[in-house]
């Protein structure tokens, strides 16, 4: 007799809300039950691996002064010495301890990842959400900017900005990366916003008299937490890679100690030709492992928003 009957709900309800429940618990704002979402990530083997590796790098970065045997800028040692007890990875052409540089460079990469990734995420979030929610002319204009930013080749743009910037330093590199790599995230958030704003509860907020800002940031945003985190990790991966790339080709700040600058100097000093693999390989491998770890953590976060990906 009645038609329009529970089209979506039934299947879910039959599985005693189990999936829906954990999802909602995870997506909840305010009373966020930390163990629930952490548990889902932890249950995912790839993500667990990623978290452990990431944790290792964080520990190294935080305790760098304790771990590194020497000051990374101290160039009093014998140049080009091979790995030994005092110099685990030997020394550079200038007589600095490579292992100490390697440890301190972890800091640089993580800082760039967090700050530049965070900056790109926030810019992308604001532009994407406003474009998606406002629609019409506002969306046309913002979406044009997003498309423009997407089609401009990133690396050349970064190189140009970084090369011509009046001040050189880590902060410049972070800003350059932040303002050039927000577009992908913005596109993603815009489409998610377009889908979420059609939900009944958003119409309900309109009827409850909420303002646009409130609806966008207080009612809709909490429902895309996992998307934001995934976007942030993606942006962090990009940022860490970009910083190393810029440093390696020499348009970053050559005085910063990062894996990229280490490889730059190693390359300039002909380390590879001279068979000094201990100078070239560790920064490269560490970079690859850190980026892989972040990507693996992302698998776990995907599982929060998509129960089908969970390994339980």
């Amino acid at each position: 007799m009645v038609t329009n009957e529970r089209p979506v709900v039934d299947e879910n309800a039959e599985i005693p809300d189990a999936q829906a429940r954990t999802l909602a618990e995870v997506e909840e704002r305010g009373g966020l039950p930390v163990p629930a979402w952490l548990k889902i990530i932890w249950q995912n083997k790839k993500a667990r691996f990623g978290l452990v590796v990431l944790g290792f790098f964080v520990v190294v970065a935080v305790f760098a002064p304790l771990i590194a045997p020497h000051d990374p800028r101290n160039n009093d040692f014998v140049p080009f010495s091979e790995p030994s007890g005092t110099h685990l990875l030997g020394t550079t052409q200038a007589g600095e301890d490579i292992f100490s540089q390697f440890v301190y460079a972890t800091r640089t990469s993580l800082i760039v990842g967090v700050l530049a990734g965070g900056m790109a995420t926030i810019i992308g979030l604001i532009i994407g959400m406003i474009a998606g929610y406002a629609g019409g002319v506002v969306d046309e204009v913002l979406n044009f900017c997003i498309n423009l930013a997407l089609v401009i080749p990133l690396l050349p743009l970064m190189i140009v900005i970084a090369a011509y910037s009046p001040v050189k330093g880590l902060v410049t590199v972070i800003i350059v990366i932040g303002i050039t790599s927000w577009a992908g995230g913005a596109r993603l958030k815009r489409s998610q916003m377009i889908s979420l704003k059609e939900r009944d509860y958003i119409t309900a907020s309109l009827f409850a008299g909420d303002s646009m800002w409130r609806i966008v940031f207080r009612e809709i945003m909490p429902n895309m937490t996992s998307l934001i985190v995934v976007g942030f990790l993606g942006a962090a991966i990009g940022a860490i890679g970009a910083e190393s790339g810029l440093s390696f080709i020499g348009v970053g700040d050559p005085l910063t100690i990062s894996w990229g600058t280490m490889m730059l100097w190693a390359n300039n000093s002909g380390a590879l030709l001279g068979g000094q693999w201990w100078w070239v390989f560790p920064p490269g491998i560490a970079l690859a492992v850190l980026i892989t770890a972040l990507a693996f953590v992302n698998f776990g976060i995907d599982a929060i928003s998509n129960p089908h990906l969970r390994e339980e």
Binding site: M1, V2, E5, V9, E14, G30, S205, G209
Partner: protein
């Protein structure tokens, strides 16, 4: 001889992180050759799980923990997938609610039939085509539709094609899981008729799962009632109507009866009797009629135009509709999907703007409102949404959802809003409020959520409430309760309500006046009881006769 025999069946959802959930407990069910068995139960009762598990369509983490299914003498519970695949479609077929959407969009209907037939048999294209035409004829579809693509067909048509497709290899057993849910009554009736015809033609056995007792009664020989994972009632259809065995079957039947009969005809001991009596409508209309009108709609028109390439097509969604909403009275707007009833609701609330015509709220024309004035108007007009599962923000507590309108419109501070919200919760029957207020929507049942949605709509003391299909997503047994809450609140607070629904019966129960809408036009309007008892327009008559009435044989008031 039994074609399908389910014995000592237990199904659990097992995950590492949570204790296992027993969805089906100790089920025993036998389906004879050519028999139609209906399986009814509320959402979450485990009926789909049982149906899917029985023919091995259960997805993990669902697991059959005990028991077996014997199909045509073979134990299929432990058969491997390859053996099963050969049997599927040929011997056992399925039609789901979503089957109409599972037709491949990039190939035409004919190709889908040929693929299916030739996957299992060696028929030539010509033979297979003839076969497809035969089956389509059984479900009353012209063979010329074979050349069509799925997107060119309506939902009901697609579902009939899906039904035909499932029958094309003449299976011995057909599982139907909510095959008509989400479709209009008129379409549902056609599909049930087609199904009956096909069953008589091919003599297959059917297990039809539905929460809709009416649809089940229409075709089933035997009805099985499922409650909380257990099969609690199993008897021939006509017998169930007279002597339900389990208390739940009784509640289910009574909730249905409530819609069909007047309170006097109900069993005085029935729990729903009290609910039925709550729906007494005021017989005296206040004399000062013009004063009580809160919203006056005159000659409303809405045209949607869509541009495709250089062609512009226009659709008249609403044509020349006029009506009034009065204080303390409920007006029902009844029509099928696509009749324009939701468009009218959107026009009245100012979400869309009318092409021509006026909507007068006092001395303001709603059509002219924009921005700030529209926001102010919305404190006078509120909405109860259709789907309680999407009407509440999953990221916030119930209390938060209720406090927002109070803070925005009433200028209350957090403390006052909180106190008022708690009062509202109690008003809609969520007592004690302290048990509910800090919960998130997913922790509540559908009925509880809908009560919260009702409370939120009433929070800013609106003059008008639009209820857009407020019960269609709910189980039958709680539907009447929600209608009762709406009824009580309207009568107590003198709100004018527009009740948008496709269901003439609940309109009769709740509304004072009914307007029947067909293709954007009002074809009939008047007092609710009169329209149901004596429908004049052929469209109203069609709508009424399409509603399966399980009680017609019992000699109760049948509406036809």
């Amino acid at each position: 001889m039994a074609i399908l025999e389910i014995s000592d069946f237990d199904v659990s959802y097992v995950t590492k992180s949570r204790p296992p959930f027993e969805a089906v407990k100790d089920a025993n069910l036998t389906i004879g050759e050519g028999e139609i068995v209906g399986l009814v139960g509320e959402s979450g009762s485990g009926k789909s799980t049982l149906g899917n598990a029985a023919i091995r369509l259960l997805d993990p983490p669902g697991t059959i923990t005990r028991g077996k299914t014997v199909f045509m003498g073979k134990d299929i519970t432990r058969m491997n997938e390859d053996q099963l695949r050969a049997m599927r479609w040929k011997e056992l077929a399925t039609v789901f609610q979503s089957s109409m959407n599972s037709l491949n969009p990039v190939i035409n209907i004919e190709k889908q039939f040929l693929d299916t037939i030739q996957a299992h048999t060696n028929q030539s294209d010509a033979q297979a085509r003839r076969r497809a035409e035969d089956v389509l004829e059984v479900v009353n579809i012209e063979p010329s539709f074979l050349k069509f693509f799925p997107h060119e067909l309506s939902g009901g048509m697609k579902q009939r094609v899906a039904l035909a497709l499932s029958l094309v290899l003449e299976p011995k057993f057909l599982l139907l899981d909510e095959p008509t849910t989400g479709l209009d009554v008129v379409v549902q009736q056609t599909i049930l008729d087609n199904l009956k015809a096909a069953q008589q033609h091919y003599q297959f056995a059917v297990l039809m799962i539905s929460h809709d007792l009416g649809a089940i009664m229409e075709i089933a020989d035997r009805v099985v009632v499922m409650y909380n994972g257990e099969l609690v009632d199993d008897q021939p259809a006509h017998q169930l109507l007279q002597s339900p065995q389990h208390p739940y079957s009784k509640i289910l039947l009574d909730s249905y009866k409530l819609l069909w009969v007047t309170p006097d005809e109900l069993d005085p001991n029935a729990g729903v009797k009290k609910i039925a009596e709550a729906f007494q409508k005021p017989t005296v209309i206040p004399p000062d009629k013009s004063e009580s009108v809160v919203l006056k709609v005159t000659n409303l028109n809405k045209t949607f135009s869509r541009r495709r390439g250089f062609k512009t097509t226009t659709v008249d969604a609403v044509k020349d509709v006029s009506f009034e909403l009065q204080r303390g009275r409920i007006t029902a707007l009844v029509g099928q999907s696509g009749s324009g009833k939701s468009t009218i609701a959107r026009l009245i609330t100012g979400i869309e703007h009318a092409t021509t015509g006026s909507i007068m709220f006092g001395n303001t024309d709603v059509n002219t409102l924009r921005g700030k004035s529209l926001k102010e108007y919305r404190s006078h007009i509120q909405m109860v949404f259709q789907d309680p599962y999407s009407a509440l923000n999953p990221a916030h507590t119930i209390l938060h959802s209720l406090m927002r309108p109070l803070q925005n419109y009433k200028g209350m501070n957090a403390k006052d809003a909180r106190a008022r919200a708690i009062e509202m919760l109690e008003q809609v029957g969520l007592t004690p409020a302290s048990r509910f207020m800090n919960k998130n929507p997913h922790q509540l049942s559908g009925g509880q959520r809908q009560r919260v949605v009702v409370a939120r709509a009433l929070a800013p003391d609106p003059e008008i409430v639009i209820a857009d299909e407020p019960t269609s997503m709910l189980d039958v047994s709680i539907r009447a309760e929600i209608l009762e809450v709406l009824n009580r609140l309207v009568r107590d607070t003198d709100i004018a309500m527009l009740f948008v629904t496709h269901d003439l019966l609940s309109a009769r129960l709740l509304a004072d006046e009914i307007m029947v809408l067909n293709k954007g036009q009002v074809v009939e309007s008047g007092k609710a009881d009169e329209i149901i008892a004596n429908p004049k327009d052929p469209y109203t008559q069609l709508l009424l006769s399409s509603i399966p009435n399980p009680f017609v044989e019992l000699g109760s008031t049948a509406a036809d």
